[in-house]
């Protein structure tokens, strides 16, 4: 599979569920009989994977919320992991 680029548009895979868990105080990814707890920043990326926003758009939006952070490389790294795990799809 090609590496993720800025104009890719990621979306949550329909066979996975992404939601906020109050009891865990974090976002989680749910799948048959399993759950992955996401860190704060992973949750921030995943919640922007709406199937309409490009990776560039997600990064721009994250910079607004975290202005002094160099996060671009980490966003790409995380999206690669998320796609490999099947949580997201890209188009």
């Amino acid at each position: 599979m090609n590496p993720i680029t800025g104009d890719n548009i990621p979306a949550i895979t329909p066979t996975f569920r992404f939601q906020w868990e109050k009891a865990q105080n974090c976002f989680v990814v749910l799948y048959p009989e399993g759950m992955v707890k996401l860190s704060h920043s992973a949750g921030e990326i995943m919640k922007r994977c709406d199937g309409a926003t490009s990776v560039d758009g997600i990064i721009t939006d994250l910079h607004k919320e975290f202005p002094d952070t160099d996060l671009d490389v980490e966003v790409y790294k995380f999206l690669e992991v998320a796609r490999e795990q099947g949580w997201i799809r890209t188009k």
Partner: protein, 398 residues
Amino acid sequence: MSKSTNSWRWPVNKAGSEQSKLPQPLWLLAELTYACPLQCPYCSNPLDFAKYKKELATDDWIRVMREAREMGATQLGFSGGEPLVRTDLEELIAEARQLGFYTNLITSGVGMDEKRIKAFKDAGLDHIQVSFQASSEELNNFIAGTDAFQHKLEMARLVKKYGYPMVLCFVLHRRNEDQIRDILELAITLEADYVELATTQYYGWAYHNREQLIPTREQLLHAEQVAKEYQEKMKGKMRIFYVIPDYFENRPKRCMDGWGHVFLTITPDGTALPCHAARQLPGLEFPNVKNHNIEWIWNDSPDFNKFRGLDWMKEPCRSCPEKEKDLGGCRCQAYMLTGDARNADPVCDKSPHHHELVATIDRVGKLAGTPEFEAKPILFRNPKNSKKITSDKETLPA
């Protein structure tokens, strides 16, 4: 949001790195009914299931789900018996989904049709796990005690058609272990997302039938090789879970990830258990959801605290450097094989009872395939046999 509470960290957490003060019942297994059209001889239901006739009402289940969800439960399994027998299943699914559960239907597929699969989807069901008894129609129907194979195939296709992630579950034992290649090919044909090659766990009916079910060492070696081959071949397309049966290991499994740690089972009559096999343990009453709320049951009931942590352990577990890793194994297995639930699980080679387990495996290995040994009848799981076993037990001297 202020920046100080909104810090940026590397996105993927180490699983379980955040320890909360009290364990949470993350996994709620709702055994809706003991009724089942199948008769699988390795069923995990208790042998005396026929004596529990009163099932929880819809309202009771809804309350249980709500209370468990408030306690942090996320995964919900509808199981049984055959959960499809319950006519309120659609209603329960809808309620569970609304509460925010990830809902799993664990089924034989018998009692399902396209109309119901669609209704479940509309109600918000997340996932359907369909069990098969074998890859061939003849063996499948023999083990299931009913002609279900063709219907299962049809249901598996419909599960895919309606966009559910599909888990196919095959319970492995001596009779079907050698079909492993055909089993995996069947899973590929049916486009399974996950395949669970579930090794028979020797509790309940399986324990009663264990001489007829325990595989040989050669069978296991072969199965493991084939499973690995397909894991490699199907990487990224289909996830294959294969675990070596614990009877063949030298260290016990970390059973249920700990007693009262993540797992909560509610039986059809409302009894709350830390695992679905625990009902057989003597000296425990186990609370019922009709008399107590889930919070009390999970946090405060004596039975859910009985084997929590490490303080209950005897030797050789107490002084063992690995005790935090496996927590002494399975309490039910310790009870069944040694007579004391506080003993080390005899799967562990530090247990003084380990050699008895090895002797059983050796004996089965030697006798397997001989006509006399294989002619011993399997006891199928049905109400008639359940009642017979219960009455036989009660007539035995104490």
